[in-house]
Symmetry: none
Subunit: 87 residues, 2 copies
Amino acid sequence: MLYWAPNGAHACRCTKRQGGGEMNMTTQDRHETEKLLTPAEVAALFRVDPKTVTRWAKAGKLTSIRTLGGHRRYRESEVRDLLGGGH
Amino acid sequence: MLYWAPNGAHACRCTKRQGGGEMNMTTQDRHETEKLLTPAEVAALFRVDPKTVTRWAKAGKLTSIRTLGGHRRYRESEVRDLLGGGH
DNA sequence: ATAGATTTGGGTAATTCGGGCG
DNA sequence: AATGTCCGAATTACCCAAATCT
């Protein structure tokens, strides 16, 4: 009578990124191991209306991933680049 | 001692699928070697609530495999296709 | 067999979508 | 051209207790 748990909870995170470092990912963001942000979160970071974030996505200024229901999700790394990359 | 990996090999190979080239699999993967994801894992990838993933499965938007106890498991390949394929 | 985490099921708020207007 | 707001409809998030998984 012992635990039989050959497999854990699948905490597979593949290549965990180090904080702050700017890792050059593949040209196209093919890695789905990216943290995603909701429209409200991105809007709060930029201090704009969520609708404005949606317009940025529609204009191609921001990469958007869609849920199966049509809601948009945004890549955290891209947002942080745009926020901190004030050039 | 019997080692059986119910949820897949958990090797986290992170194979880099190079530009657009998709494997020539038949329509569906008939082997049981397909890695399955738990609702929480799929939810984390899409940045949604696990219950939302359940709704997608009920609506037929996502293929679900049921455990003998009724819990759902999802095909990793399908999830990845939906994440990156639907630009 | 016990424990802790996860999932399921329903129900009800909170977001988001899309279009159009100012 | 770029934002913010109003509207209805759709999607998603959080609440609970019971069942299932590791």
